[in-house]
Symmetry: C2
Subunit: 304 residues, 2 copies
Amino acid sequence: MSERIRGILSPVVTPFGPDGSVDLDRFVRHCRWLQANNVGLAFLGTNSEANSLGPDERLEMMDALLDAGLDPKAMMPGTGACDLPTAVRLSRKAARAGCAGVLTLPPFYYKGVSDEGLFRFFSELVEQVGEASLRVYLYHIPPVAQVGISLDLIERLLDRYPGNIAGMKDSSGDWNTTQAVLERFRDRGFDVFPGSEVFLLKGLRHGGAGCISATANVNPAAIRRVFDEWQSAQADQLQQGLDEIRGVFQRYPMIPALKAAIAHWSGDAQWRRVRPPLVELSDAQQAELIAGLQAAGFSMPGLT
Amino acid sequence: MSERIRGILSPVVTPFGPDGSVDLDRFVRHCRWLQANNVGLAFLGTNSEANSLGPDERLEMMDALLDAGLDPKAMMPGTGACDLPTAVRLSRKAARAGCAGVLTLPPFYYKGVSDEGLFRFFSELVEQVGEASLRVYLYHIPPVAQVGISLDLIERLLDRYPGNIAGMKDSSGDWNTTQAVLERFRDRGFDVFPGSEVFLLKGLRHGGAGCISATANVNPAAIRRVFDEWQSAQADQLQQGLDEIRGVFQRYPMIPALKAAIAHWSGDAQWRRVRPPLVELSDAQQAELIAGLQAAGFSMPGLT
């Protein structure tokens, strides 16, 4: 088994052109900037508006990064879908391209489904993809998907597919959940990435693998520094700096706020666009966000 | 404007073959039986496991019915998706094929989205489909989708697209909601279909257009009879009969239960299959369901 991905990954926001289509050039450019800041690419995630993209668009974005020569070993594309055919198609493509892993939502249309049903979904996914190199990171995000990943489900999947079930992104927002998963599975080659950098240092101290966080789109270097220096004397202070910046973003709807910051620091207003059902920040909200970030000493060096 | 569809529609359950693929032959056969019972085809809905099907599978099912010569004027396929490209692709196909309408979920991944965002989604859908013949039935099913359709959203869409926004399936399960929509919009050419036959008679008495109900898959003739005879002296008694049968099905997960009944009365065990994340009824549950239905005098005459 090849070495597993660790560190900080960004659920890369997706830029849209004037006609609403995906702007692949700006997408690749933003991914290069993230990689230059030592942040991996968990593109096609929740913050990427991936579920607002058609399956073909998602495949095209994967191709765009690969064609641009970005390193698949730093990629963990989101391949979840309510339907197995789409999840299989995207996951197979990623596995064959040599991606470090795939971040896969449970099917999220039906609510209150059983662990047995979810086990069958992920089993079919692994079986139908049929690639030994497939590394599935289970995506637990109950505040959005409503359908979550239980400890028992993880255990059953790990027992059956120890080589393919690689870890989890935990976007529960609840440290107790993260800690429970870490304690039960960290010694079984199951890598846990908290879904926010507010749990980065805490996670690393409990055997976590890093984090996959929205704000890694805008604050990658500082978040990465906590990963690199978590055992140093200044770790808590560095973490506090992350929390402050995150706190400013969290006053607004996250995805439009991330895009507003990128639009501002790149001087490229096109970045503000979101797809329905999301709505961009108003001009007033954007001005307030930028002022708040500037007051906290935030900027996005090197962004073009 | 052509005459609008009214009456009883069935969210047709989707049969799967041994390899898990859609069984188009059995699907067409079941649709023929439903049409023979004067029930329209709201295929690709929640009870069809449509969100567990890939976009290509959904298009193939539409083609299968059209190729088999079934009447598109009796069809209201589900065309909702979290992403606009898929919703547009399916809706355009249906409109061009002459379908009576399309039943369209709001995008259901992000929760707590604004009416402005949903308005943009449905506006883009109408604009991008670009067919005057498109009739959109908004699909309100908050217990599953979590994202609902507000009265203000309906009003705004009706004001902007009076020719295209045709009505709603209300699967709130809450009569007060249905009544509020009926009272506010029934005089504006907005047709309301309750999502369960338990509200059929009540709905018709308040200007409803019929119903679109899971159990129309198995009990079509009796449900249709209430629609045909709602002004007769025996209407309440007929409605009571529907409620009794529905009550038996509701003791079990609805979709597996519908399939179990079809499997039993067609003598075709293949019908029991569901796609993950759903799970079929156990043998014991199936036996109990069938016994309960038989005790209520239920059968499925003419089913093959």
